[in-house]
Point group: C2
Chain length 477, copies 2
């Protein structure tokens, strides 16, 4: 576990501290505070609660001041009122702490000049004393390998994705969204007001981080846009970078002022950022999760031509429109493909063109996956297979569809390995509790088999369209 | 039940036939065919199965030909091979049947000239013999009041929405999507290739239908675009009309050819249609369902200025951007509002501006709904309240959140009635099975109380933005 800390990058240690002090550890935190969270998540380093009014916190000996801790402290979390943070930071400096995470909020984001002055003081102390300060007003670090976390319910499993997020709740949102499609993280950083450590610091580090294959960012603004641009470019030479810029509109800009008070920058400057870097732009956290799945699971398609597979003529028409709006094409299959599909599907009124319809019900779908998908795979006119499963229509009926749903999912998995074309699944759930449950079963089976699953054609085509554009223009392949 | 049939409109009877013949009733249909469906849905008129090789179908006496049925037939369903349909239609004419639904597919949508000729023959017979023909290649009629249906699992409850759909699966999709938000239908018509009865016929009827308050359409094309435009205009003078046009893109146009083979029309002609009529345009069936909920449940807002309420600074920033893209505004609250909100929320780093953050957890949210929403309601700078519930972040934890989730939903319901501003809820679920279950509980409680619930800020703002535009420019209020 501590091997990685030997890495030469100066930020490596922030993810693998051998000891953490929690300054302002709450006497009665009962497992939900910072100490309890680290304990229950299994952090293996030493934890030192600091609280002048406590002898013990969560069973651990507490110290009146960080300076009283007899051992070396690699990382300190400040969980104290804002006005006490400058002195605490000075104490950390005196103790030789290199990394400090200031969880405490109530600085420039409040809009008061007093709070802004306090923040400036904090920034100056950190700069003068050579402390790398994370925050203030942020959740800090989640690194499953070292069992650091800001949420005890985060997965302990590591994965190939890093997330650099100016927002703590957005970090939580992405970790949970990803977990539910079986995608995990190497490092997640919630960095808040960014008065010392900022997004470029982490991007420069992640460019060379061997545990990270995909980088996602949620950025509200940066005091160092030129440096950020360079850092994203550096990263993109090695791995894909997705950027959700919060505050691109007038509304959003106003909201940022009272969240992290970041300099949001003009829309033009961010348009330039995306143009210059080639980072993949996203508008919602759901889209970020979809793009991550696409990058990790969809083999790079040879082109934008999609074979749409799924029951329902109207569903096919609407899906074709949606795909075109996302920059994808739905050409007609070759005559050879249509002829072969016609031999499989004998039902009147069912298209063998593109979109091609599966036979009726989940059983009909399963049958088509086994016999029809190999035919679609050989079609010369298309590059990607997108299977629509309309679980909203077939699921949630009075009969129990679960066995059929499982059969269809396993049929898809069985055939997936033999397909040469990239395969994606759009699983539209609707809102019925039973259909929703059945959709979750399918999704679990498919994602375990490494097939990307989206909540509908809209989200699938949007993510796939953006990733294809990235592969065509991006700098990392 | 048959009172409505007295109405003067010539199409009234198609929704309230006193007897239905199923031509081609399957001997072994075992409850899943047309006869079984009508029986299990509780159709109260007389059903006459027609099958030369059966004595009984589903317990009902079968007749060799519709002409042998001793009683008057109001409505016939053709469920026989395509090449037999012209003779069957002639038989229906001989029997004096006024309304025939041709479920059978395999006509112009196959693309063969033989099938096109067959379709033309069918159209000519219907025209010559004064039969109103529905289809071919369609699912027909769902009218809960008369217990006609094409799906035995549709709700038996009636409601204020009519849906005129060229696609049967899209009709199923919308009925189920609506049901899951407690919205029901007066009439649903799946009309397929539209060689005789077409969308304008139904829209002209629905304009004066007292049971219908909102009309939605899924249209792939029309041979009578001018008449359709006039019919939609007529309807819009009385009630809102939502139109999802399938095949607006090159991809979609191709797909239509093999679905209903409708003349799709150019993008310009449909742009003109929307401009001339003022119908509300939608791109997906989910959006249609969202717009319906908005029209039925959101009191018409005075303007586009939204008060965003919900936990998470980054979530608020992203939501503000999304709202702006949907044509909504997120102005800062008045100073008076901010001052009052500041007395309620004392937590550092939590915004009282707009978006305003609720306190931590579902309990914090419930508390804010009761004490904070009345303050937001009085704010002079905003017109609508949109509450975000990030169940993805709070739900699905190891503790059981259900009681807290219910408390929060009931708190929202308790305060909703006293609010002067329209109230909407964006309930983002994520993908965790437990969080999803918890979200469904909240949704049920809120929709039962008449509060519109959307699957996220993206879908909420899109639907609300379109409905506000409609109220400002539409012709029906």
């Amino acid at each position: 576990m501590f091997m990685a800390a030997i890495s030469s990058h100066p930020l490596e240690e922030i993810f693998h501290p051998r000891s953490i002090a929690v300054v302002g550890a709450s006497k009665n935190e009962q497992g939900t505070g910072w100490v309890g969270r680290l304990l229950s998540f299994g952090y293996k380093g030493r934890i030192y609660p600091v609280n002048p009014n406590a002898k013990k916190v969560n069973g651990l000996k507490a110290f009146p001041n960080i300076k009283n801790v007899p051992e070396k402290i690699d990382y300190a979390i400040l969980n104290i009122p804002a006005h006490l943070t400058p002195q605490a930071l000075l104490d950390c400096a005196a103790k030789g702490v290199k990394f400090v995470h200031c969880f405490t909020a109530g600085f420039s984001e409040t809009g008061t000049s007093k709070a802004k002055q306090l923040e400036a003081r904090l920034a100056k102390i950190a700069g003068d004393r050579d402390i790398r300060l994370l925050g203030p007003n942020c959740m800090g670090i989640y690194c499953p390998a070292s069992r650091m976390t800001f949420d005890a319910d985060f997965p302990k499993k590591t994965g190939p994705v890093a997330f650099v997020s100016q927002s703590g709740t957005e970090a939580m949102r992405l970790v949970f969204l990803a977990r539910d499609t079986d995608v995990y993280f190497s490092k997640v950083i919630s960095y808040g007001n960014a008065i010392n450590l900022d997004a470029p610091d982490f991007l420069e580090y992640l460019a060379d981080d061997k545990d990270t294959k995909v980088v996602a960012c949620y950025i509200e603004g940066s005091r160092q846009l030129a440096r950020l641009t360079a850092a994203v470019k550096k990263c993109l030479r090695k791995k894909p970078v997705i950027v959700l810029k919060g505050g691109l509109t007038g509304n959003g800009t106003g909201a940022v002022a009272f969240h992290t008070a970041s300099p949001v920058g003009s829309k033009t400057s961010w348009d330039n950022f995306f143009k210059q870097t080639g980072a993949i732009p996203a508008n919602t956290m759901g889209e970020v999760a979809d793009i991550i799945q696409t990058l990790l699971r969809l083999n790079p398609p040879k082109g934008r031509r999609v074979a749409l597979v799924g029951r329902g003529g109207g569903i096919g028409v609407i899906a074709a429109d949606i795909c075109e709006r996302a920059g994808l094409e739905i050409p007609s299959f070759s005559n050879a493909t249509r002829k072969r599909l016609g031999q499989i599907i004998s039902e009147a009124g069912v298209s063998t063109r593109n979109p091609v319809e599966t036979m009726a019900g989940m059983n009909g779908a399963a049958d088509f996956y086994l016999r029809g998908l190999p035919v679609v795979d050989k079609d010369t006119e298309t590059d990607i297979i997108l299977v629509q499963i309309a679980i909203d229509i077939y699921g949630g009926r009075h009969t129990d569809l679960t066995p059929e749903v499982k059969d269809a999912a396993y049929a898809l998995c069985a055939v997936a390995d033999s397909l040469k074309k990239p395969l994606a699944v759009a699983l539209f759930t609707g809102g019925h509790p039973k259909a929703t449950g059945e959709a979750l079963i399918i999704r679990k089976i498919l994602t375990k088999a490494g097939i990307p699953v989206y909540s509908g054609v809209e989200s699938a085509s949007r993510a796939i369209g953006k990733v294809i554009t990235f592969y065509k223009t991006g700098s990392c392949n």
